[in-house]
């Protein structure tokens, strides 16, 4: 694809505010695109604009008494910033999730691409909510799908979900999973040393959870599974990385369990823990893609995950992970099934890494995104495929 001028609107990035999987997904996509294109990344955060790894970042510091007002302010601030740089005009404007709906509405006549990293329904654990924000955000998600020139989703599951929830026409949607730089997640560590640093016996099997402590991610399901795991294997230790509104309740519930809540970890420490653990558990109730999965695979870790969304699509059961139904008994069964067998856990991790290298490399993913950009600009992509 010839060099283009591309704008990203995403409310988080790796270098400012980082909450969940959206930050690495959008940042790395932008960085890979920036090798061939001019990429501007409009996001929130302090400080002036700067260039990192070829991507020009534009920041704002929005205010608002609630999430809706906050995002409206963010849209307005960044739209002004965008207009300053819109000469020559941007060829592609790529929006991530619903947060910039007002900006998108203002730019609806342009070549817009929207990526649904998840839906409000999904973030709510696959349930409809009856509070006002749920309705507002869902309406915005419907509208953005309606006005976008092209839509991408991170999994077939999310594609089906937005078709069902928001009537987005199927021919407008392309499934493009999140990519990963696998080598950034594999580091050589002595697992025993890392475990000892957390006061864990060097030979204790360690199960890791990484994610926000919110209902969607199912940390409560994992905590409920722990006593069931211990019934069959007494020495398993659990590390929970991440924070969220469920934190206090979960800590209280696990007072007498071998669980440590590590909160947010700096990247290098996160990598040490990831590469030292024996098994990664992803107990999500809803998971559009599940970046934790490809991160774990990149580090050659075995995975036990619930059979939902992108996890279900991407895991080959018993080959590169164990898929279990969304309930504590099944999660415990999955952990017990592999935890006694280091060889099998290792086999799952090795198979996972092979899959990451073959399917989720950013180079491959980015060229698929460029095809979507061509479609948004009205170019014929058939010749290039």
């Amino acid at each position: 694809m010839e060099p283009r001028k591309i704008a990203f609107f995403a409310w988080e990035s790796l270098y400012s505010v980082k909450i969940g999987g959206l930050a690495p997904a959008a940042t790395y996509l932008a960085e890979t695109l920036a090798k061939d294109h001019e990429v501007h990344y409009f996001t929130r955060g302090g400080g002036g604009g700067r260039e990192i790894n070829g991507v020009r970042y534009h920041y704002c510091q929005p205010h608002g008494e609630n999430i809706i007002a906050f995002c409206r302010d963010m849209s307005a601030l960044l739209l002004r910033e965008f207009e300053e740089y819109d000469d020559p005009p941007f060829d592609i404007i790529h929006f991530h999730d619903w947060h910039f709906i007002e900006a998108m509405d203002a730019l609806r006549s342009r070549n817009t691409v929207l990526t649904y990293h998840s839906t409000e329904y999904g973030r709510n654990g696959g349930h409809f909510g009856d509070w006002w924000e749920f309705g507002e955000i869902s309406a915005k998600e419907w509208y953005e799908g309606y006005i976008a020139k092209q839509v991408t989703t991170v999994s077939k599951h999310t594609k089906t979900e937005v078709m069902w929830l928001y009537n987005v026409p199927e021919d407008k949607i392309t499934v493009i999973p999140n990519g990963i730089f696998p080598d950034r997640y594999r580091v050589r560590v002595d697992p025993g040393q890392v475990k000892m640093a957390y006061g864990i016996h060097p030979l204790a099997p360690v199960v890791l959870f990484v994610g926000r402590l919110v209902y969607q991610k199912g940390p409560d399901l994992l905590v409920s599974a722990i006593p069931l795991v211990l019934r069959k294997r007494w020495d398993v230790q659990f590390l929970i990385v991440g924070e969220g509104p469920m934190s206090a309740g979960l800590k209280e519930k696990s007072r007498s369990l071998p669980v440590q809540f590590l909160g947010f970890l700096p990247d290098d420490e996160h990598l040490r823990v990831l590469n030292a653990c024996d098994l990664v558990v992803i107990p999500s109730r809803n998971e559009p893609f599940g970046l934790v999965l490809t991160e774990a695979w990149s580090a050659e870790r075995g995975v036990v995950a619930t059979e939902v969304g992108g996890l279900s699509e991407n895991i080959d059961n018993f080959v590169d992970g164990i898929k279990v139904p969304v309930r504590p008994e099944s999660i415990a069964w999955g952990i017990n099934y592999v935890i006694d067998d280091p060889v099998r856990m290792r086999a799952l991790g090795v198979a996972g890494r092979r899959k990451v290298l073959a399917k989720f490399d950013w180079g491959t993913i980015t060229s698929r995104m460029e095809d979507v950009y061509r479609k948004a600009m009205g170019e014929n992509t058939d010749d290039r495929q």
Binding site: G192, A204, D340, V350
Partner: protein, 491 residues
């Protein structure tokens, strides 16, 4: 790195192991141990003789008979016979020795060296005990079978590069290690590796397990396994020589399964012949194939990355037992009991899943594993305690002895156990390096450490120092200094 095969299928090196260890007495209780003279017997199961008789009848004899047929047809076979098996045979089943001697000393056979007790001594930092046991085994093999082993069988434990100088000095020209599973390996396990100048051969676990347990599994998609099918798998294996090691215990099956396996093995030579597969012996292979340096970090090989820090053990209980038995030497004048307790078999029973790589798999529950460990520790600590009372440095020996679970120090946060327990003062010192501060403070405030050292380890001097200490590091330094002093006294 992968040798190119000019033409034809690889050769096969078939190895058969006859290993048994003395089972410990699961009913052992310190209170009922009886007369000190009867003690070694009280530690080991009274059923050992009957069990060994069954093993000989069901496994050793039928396998040896099949292999006798193989050897007479010109097939080559490699054997590994532990000192314990030869000793038990001489004691309980002397009439079977001839059969074993016939196959082991056949012109088409090669006998491998190993530790007499098939022990974990090769993982000790001090390898003098390992060396003594290898010498003991070689001598026993020479006396019984008239054969001097030249290739060492290290398939029972992780390969420790520190063994190489010892093996070379004992005249070994190559060693075997477990190939684990080719699936993980970026290297080809069918070639000869080299570790510090010693050729290292690796076994093919996958092909071994096809016979050792998948053969009997009705839901295996390759079931039933025929000799022709198996020969075709060997023929398409990479490398120039495939090493398939099977434990004699694979015959410990119900009679009908045993008969099926015996028939399979009896027909295998013909199928291999038809597929153009020849057999070979390890000493020749080691001398003739290309070599590459043994990759200690390759997960496809069962090698020891950081020698002796964890002793190649994979579970907490194994590790505690390993430290206890490793340190027991100077505290146990009865070398035979100590060495029998070093057998790798005890450690396999301290993990929930063991076997594979040509061995019959064992699946044990959490409870069974713990009970085995508890009995093992009770026996070892009882033996050390009895010996300590006769030791010239009685007090030092008592403080250094290992402990049964009921006397161990169980670390706790106050709300829950931390998941680790010290079964000796040595292990206590190790655990202090990573005990969380919150856990340390909880115990120190309650004077738990000092009380344990005073009441259980019977060292009031150290107890006093520990109780006066303010920090974890201070306690650790006191304990390590004291350990050095005590070990100097008893050694």
């Amino acid at each position: 790195m992968v040798p190119s095969r000019e033409a034809g299928p690889p050769e096969v090196c078939f190895g058969f192991g006859f290993h048994r260890s003395l089972q410990i007495n699961s009913r052992f209780s310190p209170g009922t141990a009886g007369n000190p003279k009867d003690l070694p017997e009280a530690y080991f199961s009274p059923g050992n003789r009957e069990e060994f008789g069954r093993y000989v009848k069901d496994s050793l004899v039928p396998l040896a008979e099949v292999l006798s047929g193989w050897l007479d047809r010109g097939m080559h076979c490699t054997f590994s016979v532990s000192g314990t098996v030869s000793e038990l045979l001489s004691r309980f089943e002397p009439e079977r020795l001839d059969l074993l001697c016939q196959v082991v000393s056949h012109r088409n056979s090669e006998l491998l060296g190993e530790t007499y007790y098939r022990s974990v001594a090769g993982l000790f930092p001090d390898l003098s005990e390992f060396e003594a046991q290898v010498r003991l085994h070689s001598r026993a093999m020479e006396e019984l079978f008239g054969v001097t082993p030249r290739v060492f069988d290290n398939t029972n434990i992780s390969f420790n590069p520190a063994l190489v100088p010892v093996l070379k000095s004992l005249g070994f020209s190559a060693a075997y290690t477990e190939g684990f599973d080719n699936f993980f390996s970026e290297m080809n396990t069918d070639l000869v590796y080299s570790c510090r100048g010693l050729p290292v051969l690796t076994t093919n676990c996958s092909l071994a397990d096809d016979i050792a347990f998948r053969f009997f599994s009705g839901d295996w998609d390759e079931y039933p396994l025929t000799p022709e099918k198996y020969a075709s798998w060997i023929a398409t294996s990479p490398g120039r020589c495939v090493h398939i090691f099977l434990d004699g215990e694979i015959f410990s099956r119900p009679a009908n399964e045993r008969d099926d396996l015996a028939e399979f093995l009896s027909r295998l030579p013909e199928a291999m012949h038809d597929a153009g597969i020849g057999t070979c012996l390890p000493s020749k292979v080691a001398a003739s194939l290309p070599e590459c340096e043994l990759p200690t970090r390759d997960p496809g090989l069962h090698t020891l990355d950081t020698p002796c820090t964890l002793g190649g053990m994979t579970s907490i209980l194994q590790h505690s037992a390993f430290i206890a038995v490793m340190n027991a030497g100077p505290l146990m004048p009865d070398a035979s009991t100590w060495r029998n307790l070093q057998a790798d078999d005890h450690f396999r029973r301290m993990e929930m899943k063991s076997g594979t790589c040509g061995r019959t798999p064992h699946f044990l529950s959490n409870q069974e594993v713990y009970e085995y460990f508890a009995t093992y520790m009770r026996i070892l600590s009882h033996c050390e305690e009895k010996s300590a009372n006769r030791h010239r440095h009685r007090n030092a020996a008592r403080t250094l002895r290992c402990l049964p679970p009921e006397k161990a120090f169980h670390f706790s946060t106050g709300d829950r156990t931390t998941g680790f327990s010290a079964y000796s003062l040595d292990e206590f010192a190790q655990m202090l390096t990573y005990t969380p501060d919150q856990v340390f403070a909880f115990h120190q405030e309650r004077h738990d450490f000092a009380r344990w050292i005073q009441d259980v380890l019977e060292d009031p001097v150290l107890a006093g120092s520990v109780d006066r200490s303010g920090s974890r590091e201070e306690v650790r330094v006191f304990v390590e200094r004291r350990l050095l002093d005590l070990w100097n006294r008893v050694k």
